[in-house]
């Protein structure tokens, strides 16, 4: 009996010990709260921007946001569509941005995407400007330059926005806590902030023709931009009497001080492979590596006609992937580019000859002066003479002749400035050519505009003649020159079109000149019936309004949308 009892006690003790061990086990488990520690490994936390490398990376990130505008369909739609010199071709989902119908509303994807990306860039610039002064181990020189670059980009973005949207939110500090409190600052405040940023940026930027890291903003880029800001402000509701006077010396600095010069041949400015040249003040960088190219420069597709379904032709990288989005207006072809004897810019901007890359015998399609044609490789299949050649003359040609009266939404003179035969294949959408955002010819034209606005007609005339002489066919330089009596504002407007067509400036130019509505009604028949006074501003993205604290009462839509 005694033994059994002992045994049972022993057993009980053993059980007790076991239970104790279990409880202990559970408690130890509890102590392991570090098991719930969350470590970010594959991503990087925000504090990284407070380091030397983080500062450089933040600036690179800020630059990347300029790609949202230059060389994209949205940047082109905002600037080429609905102007006096370009109207819509056959394809694309965005024709209403040309025709100004009420489909162009606040839910427009381009508006939203651009808005989002520019503000992400602005927030990045804000972070750099705020954090850079306190980053240890970075020289003052580097800090100064990085802050100046951030201010350049921030000013660039706000300038774009104030032109497109009018009053927008002016955020000059990094967003650190989530907030829905947003509002629209008056245009004058935005211009003041832009001018302050650029004025402060100029001394901090490199005073060189180009940065050793090609694509970084230089002093010339900031001066060119500030000059353009003044010229634009000078016609805005925020104008001051000295805006044009302030612009003039800035442009002159750009022309005189940094070794920039116009190329001798207009055709070389946009020649494939010549993206880095002496005329480029600042270009948006694209590459051939998909790892660094983002969405790429897509401009190569939009301005082309549908050559690839025509007899003797198929799509190739040389001729491009024809999206047929933008078609030059009759005004552009027949008035702006009327002079082709002396001025080389029509021939050097538009493609007039297509060579066969798909030999064979075909029925003709648009040129009914003959029924069938046979092409060997390299034979001309199509020619655009630019005038209405007679049927008899056309009949004598061993190729189809596309005359202006046969132009359609699919068939029209294609702009060659952006062609990109360097793509890996004929389908690749992500082009690799840098987008020239600022070039010296534009500086001259803006200088002429600033001079003209101040009544300095003689100076404006001689400024514009620099551009005219360069554009001349060899030996026609004198014939190209104009006199002070020719120097009208109408002339200036057409000269800008001749020089800068397809370079994402036209809509902004018309808006600056205050005659967008008038000229679109006059020269763009697709848009004419619909465009209204309120179209000088783009709609604010609906989600910005919906998400704002107070909705439309605190963040009102632009009128008309």
């Amino acid at each position: 009996m005694q033994t059994m009892k002992n045994l049972s006690i022993k057993k009980q003790i053993k059980n007790l010990a076991l239970k104790g061990a279990l409880v202990l086990g559970l408690l130890v488990g509890q102590a392991c709260q570090d098991a719930l520690q969350e470590d970010v490994i594959s991503q990087i936390g925000s504090d990284y921007l407070n380091t030397q490398k983080g500062l450089d990376d933040a600036i690179s990130a800020a630059y990347s946001t300029v790609r949202a505008w230059y060389g994209t369909e949205r940047g082109n739609n905002f600037t080429e569509f609905g102007t006096d010199i370009y109207t819509n071709g056959a394809d694309g989902s965005w024709k209403f941005m040309n025709t100004y119908t009420n489909q162009f509303d606040s839910n427009n994807g381009h508006v939203r995407e651009l808005w989002d990306e520019l503000y992400r860039g602005i927030n990045t610039c804000n972070a750099v400007i705020e954090r850079a002064p306190d980053i240890p181990g970075v020289s003052e020189a580097v800090k100064t330059q990085r802050i100046a670059e951030a201010k350049f980009i921030r000013a660039h973005h706000y300038f774009l926005m104030v032109q497109l949207f009018g009053p927008v939110e002016l955020r000059l500090e990094e967003t650190k806590v989530p907030t829905k409190e947003v509002s629209r600052a008056p245009e004058s405040e935005i211009y003041a902030a832009i001018i302050q940023d650029l004025s402060q940026a100029i001394p901090g930027l490199e005073a060189k023709k180009a940065s050793s890291q090609f694509g970084r903003a230089t002093r010339a880029a900031a001066e060119h931009l500030l000059g353009r800001v003044y010229v634009t402000k000078g016609t805005s509701t925020s104008k001051a009497s000295d805006d044009f006077a302030k612009a003039e010396p800035l442009f002159k600095n750009v022309i005189a001080n940094y070794g920039l010069k116009l190329l001798d041949d207009f055709g070389q400015v946009h020649a494939f492979g010549n993206e880095i040249n002496d005329e480029v003040i600042w270009s948006v960088q694209y590459t051939r590596s998909p790892l660094t190219n983002g969405g790429g420069n897509n401009s190569h597709v939009f301005f082309l006609m549908e050559y690839d379904t025509q007899p003797g032709m198929q799509r190739d990288t040389e001729n491009g992937r024809p999206f047929k989005r933008y078609r030059p207006t009759v005004y552009a072809m027949e008035t702006v580019f009327q002079n082709r004897e002396n001025d080389s810019r029509y021939k050097k901007s538009y493609k007039d000859t297509y060579k066969s890359n798909k030999p064979g015998t075909y029925n003709t399609t648009f040129d009914n002066s003959k029924a069938k044609l046979t092409f060997a490789a390299g034979d001309t299949t199509m020619f655009l003479p630019g005038y209405n050649m007679t049927a008899a003359e056309r009949a004598s040609k061993p190729y189809q002749v596309l005359i202006p009266s046969a132009y359609t939404e699919k068939l029209f003179p294609a702009l060659t400035k952006h062609l990109d035969p360097g793509r890996v294949d004929r389908t690749q959408f992500e082009g690799g050519r840098d987008y020239i955002a600022m070039r010296l010819a534009d500086t001259y034209l803006l200088l002429a505009e600033a001079q003209f606005r101040q009544g300095k007609i003689a100076e404006a005339t001689s400024t514009i003649n620099v551009i005219r002489r360069r554009a001349a066919w060899p030996g026609k330089e004198t014939a190209m020159e104009i006199t002070a009596s020719d120097m009208t504002f109408d002339f200036l407007m057409e000269e800008r079109a001749r020089e800068l067509t397809g370079e994402q400036t036209r809509w902004l130019d018309l808006k600056r000149w205050g005659n967008l509505i008038e000229r679109v009604k006059k020269y763009n028949p697709q848009a004419a019936p619909n465009i209204k006074d309120f179209h000088v501003l783009r709609p604010i993205p609906q989600n910005q309004i919906d998400r704002a604290e107070g909705g439309a009462s605190s963040f009102p839509q632009n009128p008309g949308y």
Binding site: L18, L26, A61, N107, E174, P290, L291, T292, R315
Partner: protein
């Protein structure tokens, strides 16, 4: 982490070691359970009364369980009367169960244990082996559709290998997942059930109210599905063979214009702009409009049906061999299964191989170990690729093949429309997903004393998924450009480690007490590697040597980790089986929340009252069983992606000339205050059985309030951020669930019975911090997601020209309701058009049996939802270029109000999004089943112990307005966005649903 692991290991080893000191008290009891016809009954639950110790019979009706001499074994099975047997000195107990349409004494698996159904206090639905086996299903979740009240299962289309979506009692959460938790053999899993072979499953229990799910704490808020796989029993080894084969045919086809209709539609798109003369077609005008190939087709009357050319007859098959058996110490169940679903779209199929080993072994009488091990390999083709979209848009007047039968890549001159048949040329498009998964549930069970047991569960789960893509040059994606390829490799390792203590004792013969304590740790590690290239030199390389490509377009790796640490305690108490009480509390700590908010505490309590045991009902001839239940509890939800508390940077790419300039910029704003979302549920229910068990069922009513919702909150983008995750607002779900089974007729050998379920759930947003949130699409008083858009009220008719013009519209264009009456149509006229959430749904199964013959059919319906049909958006641009849905469009001579006039000057009709909303109500006959059980004497003659042959038709009929009036196929859609499709939306890339004719055999040797 290592330290923690060793701590566990020490405890476990200590337990194993000391176990041998403990004296044996139990004996092994085994036996065979037969049904009323003398057939072995698999899946019978055997529970040692007053404990949580239990087992189930194998395919041969055999079982084995350890029990003390004074123990009482409770044998129960759905549809049969319970039997209680005192063990005494017996080691073998054979029984025959008798049918009982009342099943309140069934033993059901609950979280961390089993319980008699009559003792349950929570809301639980069960689906047994029978229901799972009677449908030829790919995914176990399909067996829940229309079978479990309160469980909404949807499976749009028939893409092989695609998973259904399950929602239990509606949705609570904006962003945190609404996906229920699946627990397989005790181990909570991450990811779905697509790797699990449904034929290995013996039962599924759906835990719905807080009392039932609270023990799963943080992850129980969306309901819990417990899945139990088959296990072996001691005795003779049995081999079973289960096979079926079915032929699949598309249940309908989206109709587009044929050649002549396309030609007329193209003409009309030009008449609208004055580019084609009004009146009948003329050869002269046609010659200007159409290209030569089209003219040729028109004159020849030739029309190509591209969709038809991409469809095939599919089939589905499953072949399974199972072996089970064992002895007193060790029992096993081993199975191998081959499953293949060949889709009705060329290039889509899914093949799965599964192997299972379930093993139980007694080390001593007190200590046992076991494992459920699953090994799965599957291959899926066409997960991301579907050629149908291109075929729907292809001009039917083009010519797909030349005279020599060679494929013409551009059947018309339209450069964007390549030949859809080119997509299915072998090797043109490769889209292969392979998965390999090893899932284990390993346990050690130690009966420390008669009343106290300790169990440790360890559940390692390893999944490798690889997707390989190759897109050849001659495809629409490349259109002659260089071939592209990519691989996406994902590795996931997840483990769960649980310590469970259970104490069970009866005091004074009337107070039954059961205590459970749990500590659990789960960790998940997910890694991903992706590589995308352009310019694969030889098409034959597919995606197997991407390094040879001319360009790497993207390369990346990723790592995501999370962990969860939990403690739980539960009390089950009953007085004489009459008054029942369950109370539980769980504390969960999640790595996903900020430092001060990691832990959440979630209590629950439930009461039950078995009224039929009270004197006033005990002798009732009407009421057999009646139980009243009520519960209240709260549960958390942490299902947001990790790292949301942190402010993180996003990478950008740029360059200086050709020097890479990658950057980082603020990408997420982070919210360190993120905390648990929590749901409180009140549930009350009656379980009843009347008229000698001829009618039985249950009724539930519940209200769930969810607060501190984890939700993405959009921010005005001018802040630099599009949104962040926060805790906001409150939602409510309330509903009624009804399950009813009736024995309608029983005459001689003939029986007719019916099972019915009815679910009505109302999902509602109760409060938001700033009222209605248009930006996020959230409206108070509405379901969590709604369709908010302009409302189409018709087409502008000729007589309304001026009125149309005042809105900036033209005759023949869509007429939108000017909701605010301001004379303009803009974003202010958007209104709530409906929601994907149904008002109610129901399922009815009727079964007829006569001797060995049985027939059943299953009808399922959902009523009151609104759906969006991408077909009516993506393939309805009406601009006279691409082919279009064969819709009734407006012309001056056809003043319809259905669809606008085609117009060549539009890429899509103005306000086209308003054309895509339809009623989602449907009624489906999901299944008709006919089976014959050979009598055991016949089976024995051919060397079998049992034999069943059956045939079934899946999905023979769908009744819906979307199908009948709008030429859609099937309105069944996901409620929540998933697999790249928004909630409530019919994916235009869907593989059409199929009707299947299946023949199958179940044989046992």
């Amino acid at each position: 982490m290592l330290k923690k692991f060793y701590t566990y290991l020490t405890v476990v080893l200590l337990l194993v070691f000391t176990a041998s000191f403990v004296q044996a008290q139990d004996t092994q009891v085994s036996g065979t359970i037969l049904d009323e016809t003398g057939m072995p009954l698999p899946g019978v639950s055997i529970l040692l009364k007053g404990t949580t110790r239990g087992t189930t019979t194998d395919l041969d009706g055999k079982y084995s369980i350890a029990a003390p001499a004074d123990g009482v074994l409770v044998f129960s099975f759905i549809g049969y009367n319970n039997i209680e047997e005192t063990v005494g000195s017996r080691s073998k107990i054979d029984l025959t169960l008798t049918p009982d349409v009342s099943n309140l004494d069934e033993v059901v698996v609950v979280g961390y244990g089993t319980q008699k159904k009559s003792q349950l206090t929570g809301a639980i639905s069960s689906v047994g082996n029978k229901e799972i086996q009677e449908l030829p299903i790919t995914d176990a979740r399909q067996a829940l559709q229309g079978r479990a009240a309160g469980v909404d299962v949807v499976q749009p289309g028939s893409k092989p290998g695609s998973a259904p979506q399950v929602r239990i009692r509606g949705r609570r959460s904006f962003n945190a997942s609404n996906e229920p938790l699946y627990v397989i053999d005790g181990i909570p899993t991450v990811g779905g059930l697509e790797d699990i072979n449904p034929q290995d499953i013996t039962s599924m229990e759906v835990l719905k109210d807080a009392s039932a799910t609270a023990i799963y704490g943080s992850r129980g808020s969306n309901g819990v599905v417990l899945i139990t796989t088959k296990r072996g029993g001691a005795g003779k080894t049995t081999v079973s063979l289960d096979s079926y084969y079915g032929a699949s045919y598309e249940l309908g086809r989206i109709e587009v214009f044929d050649g002549p209709a396309f030609a007329e539609y193209k003409r009309e798109s030009r008449r609208a702009t004055g580019a084609y003369p009004e009146g009948p077609a003329t050869a002269e005008a046609d010659a200007k409009l159409f290209e030569p190939i089209e003219l040729e087709s028109i004159s020849l009357g030739r029309s190509t049906d591209y969709v038809a050319g991409l469809m095939q007859n599919g089939n589905i098959q499953s072949h399974q061999v199972g072996v089970s058996g064992g002895n007193d110490k060790t029992t096993f169940f081993v199975s191998g299964n081959y499953f293949k679903d060949l889709g009705v779209i060329i290039n889509q199929d899914f093949t799965r191989y599964t192997f299972r080993i379930n093993l139980d072994h007694k080390i001593t009488d007190k200590v046992s170990i076991g494992t459920s091990t699953l090994f799965t390999m599957s291959d899926r083709n066409g997960e991301n690729f579907n050629p149908i979209g291109g075929a729907l848009q292809e001009n039917p007047l083009g010519k797909p093949y030349d005279e020599e039968g060679n494929l013409i890549f551009l059947p018309t001159s339209d450069g964007l429309r390549t030949n859809p048949f080119a997509e299915v040329v072998p090797g043109a498009q490769v889209d292969e997903t392979s998965r390999t998964r090893i899932f284990n549930s390993i346990y050690l069970n130690w009966n420390i004393t008669k009343n106290l047991t300790y169990r440790v569960n360890f559940g390692p789960d390893y999944t490798v998924r690889r997707n390989g893509r190759f897109t050849g040059s001659q495809t629409n994606a490349r259109r002659g450009g260089d071939a592209t390829g990519s691989v996406d490799d994902r590795f996931q390792f997840n483990y769960t480690l649980e310590n469970i203590l259970n104490y069970s004792k009866t005091f004074n013969s009337v107070h039954n007490l059961n205590l459970t304590a749990l500590q659990s740790f789960q960790k998940d590690r997910f890694e991903q590697t992706t590589l995308d290239v352009l310019g694969i030199p030889a098409p034959s390389q597919l995606y197997h040597r991407l390094g040879d490509a001319s360009q790497i377009t993207s390369a990346n790796t990723n790592l995501v980790e999370w962990s969860l640490l939990s403690y739980m305690a539960r009390v089950n108490y009953d007085y004489k089986g009459k008054f029942l009480l369950t109370a539980s509390a769980r504390a969960d700590g999640s790595s996903r929340f900020g430092e001060n908010n990691k832990f959440g505490f979630f209590p629950s309590a439930a009461l039950g009252w078995n009224l039929h045991q009270e004197e006033f009902l005990k002798n009732s001839s009407f009421v057999d069983q009646l139980k009243f239940r009520v519960s209240y509890g709260s549960i958390g939800n942490q299902a947001i992606t990790p790292y949301q508390t942190q402010a993180l940077l996003g990478r950008t790419s740029y360059s200086w000339d050709n020097t890479a300039a990658f950057g980082y910029r603020p990408n997420t704003i982070g919210n360190p205050d993120l905390r648990w979302e929590s749901s409180s549920t009140f549930n009350t229910g009656f379980d009843f059985s009347i008229l000698k068990n001829k009618i039985f069922g249950s009724i539930e009513y519940y209200i769930t309030n969810t607060s501190d919702l984890l939700a993405p909150q959009p921010l005005p983008n001018s802040t630099g951020f599009g949104g962040f995750t926060t805790n906001i607002g409150e939602t409510q779900n309330r509903g009624i669930e009804l399950s009813l089974s009736t024995l309608n007729l029983e005459r001689g050998d003939f029986t007719w019975s019916t099972d019915m379920i009815f679910t009505k759930n109302q999902e509602e947003i109760i409060s938001l911090p700033n009222g209605d949130d248009i930006a996020a699409g959230r409206f108070i008083g509405q379901p969590l997601t709604v369709f908010f858009d302009l409302r189409k009220i018709g087409i502008w008719q000729t007589a309304e020209k001026d009125l149309a013009a005042s809105f900036g519209d033209k005759v023949g264009e869509i007429k939108i309701e000017d909701a605010n009456g301001d004379g303009k149509i803009n974003s202010l006229d958007r209104q709530i058009l409906g929601s994907a959430v149904p008002d109610f749904s129901f399922g009815i199964t009727n079964r007829f049996a006569y001797k060995g013959l049985d027939v059943s059919f299953f009808v399922y319906g959902r009523v009151g939802s609104t759906i969006r049909s991408q077909f009516h958006n993506n393939f309805n641009y009406l601009f006279g270029r691409y082919n279009n849905l064969a819709v009734d469009y407006w012309t001056p001579n056809n003043p319809t109000n259905l669809y606008p006039r085609p117009n060549q000057n539009q890429e899509f009709p103005k306000y086209n999004s308003s054309m895509q909303y339809f009623s989602g109500t449907f009624l489906k006959v999901r299944n008709i089943n006919l089976g014959y059980n050979f009598s055991s004497t016949v089976a024995k003659k051919i060397g079998l112990s049992s034999l069943r042959l059956y045939s079934s038709i899946q999905n023979p009929f769908i009744f819906s307005e979307y199908r009948k009036v709008h030429k859609g196929i099937d309105p069944e859609t996901f409620i929540d966005g998933e697999q790249g499709v928004e909630g409530g939306t019919i994916n235009a890339n869907i593989a059409p649903p199929v009707v299947q004719y299946t023949f199958g055999i179940n044989a046992k040797f």
